[in-house]
Symmetry: C2
Subunit: 330 residues, 2 copies
């Protein structure tokens, strides 16, 4: 930085202010500083600015596990939007509750990042407060909360779109294959999607058979187990609404093994539009987590640059009808 200052013939302070776009620098000086900085390939040291001032030039993304399609897609969206803005992305997986506590206890101690974006994690007010105290901006992607920007789909609506599709095909015995969050007792998506399921059923005047509402751990394995449970029940469902495409795919495996034809005997629908959904011809309710990540990044940038966080609204979901749903067998 001193090279730049010397070359332009101004002080370090002026260079610093000019480059960061602070007020109180003449346009003339600012121009010159920018030009010289570019010519000299000057890159500010994040270490130094972090030490001296406030900004670290880093954003942490916090999620349950990375190999999930959802989490990695949102992360990619964040990365694509944050990097051009000169911010680096720190990835932190919080596996279990103890780890989660550790993270929120230590992270703000040393402000290693300017902002934290949590993916599909419902923050407690204490956790938010802790981050805030540490001077860290907070944004949620894929979950809801009070007092900080949240970018998410309407889970209840997505569930209704799925269940309405089944209802319109003529199904009444519609099972809900939900998941339980192993690591986060408060993950809201499950609750909201169940609410959407019940709301759609109620609106259609179709009673819910509680034997058809089952919950297993997430992923395809849980889906397979949940489907096995449904198959061992007294009366089979004619359609299954799964929490996600992965769960739906697990369910389809169980159906295949049980020799049950999809969709002739049982229809299956998921949520996500996972790349595999197209591959396996799975009917689903699509969402776009990469776009959601991008929007979360923009909100984060707003916060970091002192602007009011833009309102990105609720992210849309839409029914994608493929080959795993059909009218019920007569």
């Amino acid at each position: 930085m001193s090279d730049v200052a010397e070359e332009v013939g101004v002080s370090l302070a002026t260079v610093s202010r000019a480059l960061r776009g602070l007020e109180g620098v003449s346009e003339d000086t600012r121009e010159k500083v920018r030009e010289v900085a570019a010519r000299l390939d000057y890159i500010p040291s994040p270490e130094a600015s972090g030490l001296a001032g406030r900004s670290t030039g880093r954003v942490a993304v916090v999620l349950h596990d990375l190999p999930s399609w959802y989490g990695s897609s949102v992360t990619v969206g964040l990365e694509r939007e944050l990097r051009p803005a000169g911010l680096d992305l720190l990835v932190r997986c919080v596996d279990d509750p103890a780890d989660r506590v550790r993270f929120f206890a230590t992270m703000p101690l040393r402000r290693k990042v300017d902002a934290v974006v949590v993916i599909a994690i419902a923050l407690t007010p204490q956790e938010v407060a802790k981050l805030r105290e540490g001077g860290v901006a907070v944004v949620a992607a894929g979950s809801h909360g009070e007092g900080f920007p949240c970018v998410a789909i309407d889970d209840e609506l997505a569930a209704q779109q799925a269940v309405n599709h089944l209802l319109q095909l003529g199904h009444e015995r519609i099972a809900l294959l939900n998941t339980v969050a192993a690591t986060d007792r408060a993950w809201q998506a499950q609750r909201d999607r169940e609410n959407g399921y019940r709301a759609a059923m109620a609106a259609a005047g179709v009673p819910v058979d509680e034997d058809l509402v089952v919950s297993w751990s997430g992923g395809s394995r849980g889906g397979a187990q949940g489907m096995d449970q449904l198959l061992s029940g007294r009366r089979l469902p004619s359609a299954v609404f799964a929490f996600s495409d992965e769960v739906a795919l697990g369910a389809m495996r169980s159906l295949r093994r049980a020799g049950i034809e999809v969709p002739r005997q049982i229809s299956v629908i998921g949520i996500d539009d996972h790349p595999l959904a197209e591959l396996t011809d799975l009917t689903t309710v699509a969402q776009d987590p990469v776009a959601l990540g991008r929007a979360s990044a923009q909100v984060t940038l707003d916060l970091l640059q002192g602007r009011p966080a833009r309102d990105v609204g609720t992210f849309p979901t839409r029914l994608v009808v493929r080959g795993t749903t059909a009218p019920p067998a007569p």
Copy 2:
């Protein structure tokens, strides 16, 4: 840190040395410093140590795209091993060649990380040199190179395992459904797997029909297109060895649409043991990218702590026979 120094009654320099395990501190003092630091919840500022000394406490993982199963699995392995060691993980996707050039040009300018772990990227000697000049340690996961530690499977062997399985079933018209790397002209895996395919065929004395060797972009879409090309050929293959499970799944979709039964009419095998392989009953050659990430992390830690990098050897792969391979139709 000054709190710790004051409490113990030593200088800042001693605290710094004691905590970092440097030589020249009596065991007695070191103990005391450690104890007080723990009691006071002291966490060193990475900004300050980065500025003053050398270490930033950060490792960058560089990959093509994150939503890939392979990349995110390796990253998870890295994260699990690096975090307990007090290192944060910076994620950087390099999408296109221009971006790649930009990364290697700017990253070393400001040493933002202590080490770079590249995933499935074949580094050029110049890129390695550039990182080295910047004082950044280099480790490769899933690719090979000279002059820095590489943790990888034996791609040629993996291909041989797959093709040998098909040969042993009695197949001779074995197609290779390879991929072309859009972003990295030198990705070695494709070349090595093709070599393995040819070596296995040659060893069995089976001639390769060059019409059965096709390359498309990666992912399931490319697999579907490649399979379409094979299906439009004069003589069909009796078995398909796909570059990866994703490619294999794409191929299976094309086969399904064409009304061809797997494995009765055509056998299919992939590489990876992607979670979906189990779900779709796909025969494959399994690898463990999470373990590979962990091993890469350990090598990285060796380098950062001034030890010689341990030799983790070549990572094993093993044939997993499921339902998509069978003897050829008579």
